[in-house]
């Protein structure tokens, strides 16, 4: 039985003592002592304010932190003193902090949380990100309510943030996943989500947990699996999370996200190859209102190296992209960094051709993804510079046009995919 290997004897005893729960919130951690306290507090406040009659459990799955994260979780104060109306849960709120076994990575933590959710028969499950301190009790409730009250199986968060933020999502993952899966999910690679027990059981039955995708790309896989396997999905608005310095260097992060996206597309090809266009996804709770500031980013710095990179990588790119795309890239590289405009259509065909090359294995797959990174930086730099001073609405429209360009180019991708 899978539970035997995922849950330690001690955790099993704890869970048996807890019994069945209505709501389970999981918080995977790895050296998050500095940020996890507000997350735990927000969860408990959400339990007492919004779900006082529900049996609830907070489970912290820790990957072997050496900064005392588990004890911070265990000892975090849950006083609701910051609010005018002090409320208390009518049922016992359980809190467990436990290490998970195996290779450190979110996949193993999530597997443990899901296994615990299945064992305790939790009706609604939410997974939170311990890296950010901006989560509020309302945010936790927003992830749980659509599952608990509206019978959704999967709730994807929509972070309220400026459209120029998160370019890896807006420029690559969002348009690619939207065009392929046919659903307009704003943050497909979000580390937080809500889900039903039915979806948990389904996920635990998949062979993904011991793979590289399970180790580093589980966030994206969870979203893609929910879409591809026909679960009832919705989105929910979350308040802005203060940006924290990324723990993973860009190159590694880029490789993890892009490889995960490509592997998911390969896994779910039978689902998405036949889909055309895209459908909007229901927003279960509205976006919290907040003023957003445009990030201060110098796009020109990202485009500075574009010309040299294309020239240096020519002998690699000619195996990956078509002659036409390579010619267009070289023509683009001839322009001054300050005048670089990477068109949507060229970017869409570049990404699709990299996806096809990845599928065909024209060279070692990690090399294909590494070769895309400089092109992504060029595209991102060009976009950031072009829209640096534009109003949010204009940037949103430009991002929508990019998604539509990916959808327009999809028949070409499908044709090449089927031919490969």
């Amino acid at each position: 039985m899978a539970q035997d290997s995922v849950l330690s004897d001690e955790l099993l005893h704890h869970l048996m003592a807890v019994g069945h729960v209505d709501i389970l919130v999981g918080v995977p951690t790895l050296n998050n002592a500095g940020t996890v306290r507000p997350v735990v507090r927000a969860v408990h406040q959400a339990f007492s304010r919004y779900f006082p009659r529900d049996r609830s459990l907070l489970i912290n799955s820790d990957g072997g932190s050496d900064d005392g994260t588990p004890s911070v979780v265990r000892n975090a104060s849950v006083d609701d003193t910051g609010t005018v109306t002090v409320s208390h849960s009518l049922r016992t709120v359980h809190r467990i902090s436990t290490p998970y076994h195996g290779v450190p990575g979110k996949g193993n933590a999530l597997r443990q949380i899901m296994t615990a959710a299945e064992l305790t028969q939790a009706r609604a499950v939410a997974v939170l990100n311990a890296d950010v301190t901006g989560i509020t009790p309302e945010g936790v409730a927003a992830l749980i309510r659509p599952v608990r009250d509206q019978q959704f199986d999967y709730v994807a968060p929509v972070y309220q943030r400026h459209p120029l933020e998160g370019p890896l999502v807006t420029q690559l993952v969002r348009p690619l996943m939207r065009a392929a899966y046919g659903w307009q999910v704003r943050d497909p690679v979000a580390p937080e989500f809500g889900c039903s027990n039915r979806f948990v059981t389904h996920c635990l039955e998949q062979d993904v947990w011991d793979t590289e995708l399970g180790r580093v790309g589980i966030d994206l896989w969870v979203t893609a699996e929910a879409l591809a396997k026909g679960f009832r999905c919705c989105q929910t608005g979350l308040s802005p999370h203060p940006a924290t310095p990324p723990r993973t260097p860009f190159g590694e992060l880029f490789a993890q996200v892009v490889e995960s996206a490509f592997v998911c597309l390969d896994l779910h090809a039978p689902y998405w190859l036949g889909r055309n266009g895209s459908e909007p996804m229901q927003l279960a709770s509205p976006m919290p209102s907040a003023a957003l500031e445009a990030p201060v980013v110098d796009g020109t710095r990202l485009t500075e190296a574009f010309a040299k990179d294309v020239e240096n990588l020519r002998s690699v790119l000619e195996y990956i992209v078509s002659g036409e795309t390579l010619t267009n890239l070289e023509a683009l590289a001839e322009k001054l960094p300050a005048r670089l405009r990477y068109p949507d259509a060229l970017w869409a065909s570049t990404v699709y051709e990299f996806l096809i090359a990845y599928r065909n294995g024209v060279m070692r797959r990690e090399h294909i993804v590494q070769a895309l990174a400089p092109l992504y930086l060029g595209r991102t730099g060009s976009f950031l510079r072009q829209y640096a001073t534009s109003p949010e609405l204009v940037v949103d429209e430009a991002l929508e046009n990019l998604c539509r360009e990916f959808e327009r180019s999809k028949p070409d991708l499908v044709r090449r995919w089927n031919r490969a």
Partner: protein, 233 residues
């Protein structure tokens, strides 16, 4: 006197005819062996090419970067090359077997030497193939790491890595088939030593500033590139 001459000529003629009678069957046998060997070698070449095609050797050669090198060296595609190697090895074997049947004393032992040489030749070919694959992999990995890591002159660096591995592989292959072993080893040792020394001197004296910049780039006080300045997710 005339009788003696006639006897001698007759004896010579008889000896010649006897020798010819003894040699002709061996000659026929040799020709038969060579022709049959050629047919078998042709058949094996066809089989090897078919199997190589089925195993998509050309695609693998393309993927591992062997195909462009073959093209540069004006050699046929990988499956045809493999077939040609098998053809020539088999046919040469039959050819030497046929020559051995002729019974020429000076050519005795040629076949044994050839078969003793074949494993070394095959090993050398294997070394070369592995060398090509490793060199190409290292070239691409170095190029991509250098471009993404903003290391100066990525093509020069990756090209140097590729050629170093190819030269090393070539020297190992030649050493394996014992072609001018001493010359190859000495030449390689001198060239490699001179290259290392030249690089060290150039880098240490002429390129001290570059070395400093590279080391500073590799071990920065604040490890953040322009790509790391924004939150990508």
């Amino acid at each position: 006197m005339a009788q003696m001459i006639a006897n001698a000529i007759r004896q010579a003629g008889t000896n010649f005819l006897e020798s010819l009678a003894a040699f002709l069957p061996r000659m026929v046998m040799t020709l038969a062996i060579i022709i049959v060997g050629w047919l078998i070698a042709m058949l094996l070449r066809t089989i090897v090419r078919a199997v190589a095609g089925w195993l998509r050797i050309n695609v693998a050669a393309e993927r591992f970067g062997v195909a462009p090198l073959l093209k540069t060296a004006d050699l046929p595609p990988a499956d045809a090359l493999l077939g040609a190697i098998v053809f020539w090895l088999v046919w040469l074997g039959f050819l030497l077997s046929g020559i051995d049947v002729l019974g020429f004393t000076s050519l005795q032992g040629l076949l044994a030497s050839f078969w003793a040489f074949v494993p070394r030749l095959l090993l050398a070919v294997v070394i070369l193939i592995i060398g090509f694959v490793v060199a190409n992999f290292a070239w691409r990995a170095t190029l991509l790491a250098a471009v993404n890591g903003r290391v100066p002159s990525p093509r020069l660096l990756s090209g140097a890595v590729r050629w170093l591995i190819l030269i090393l592989t070539g020297a190992m292959a030649l050493e394996q088939i014992a072609v001018a072993r001493t010359v190859v080893l000495t030449a390689f040792a001198i060239a490699f030593g001179a290259l290392s020394l030249a690089v060290a001197i150039a880098f240490g004296i002429g390129g001290g500033g570059i070395a400093k910049r590279i080391l500073e780039h590799q071990f920065p006080e604040q490890p953040r590139s322009s790509a790391d300045e924004i939150s990508h997710l």
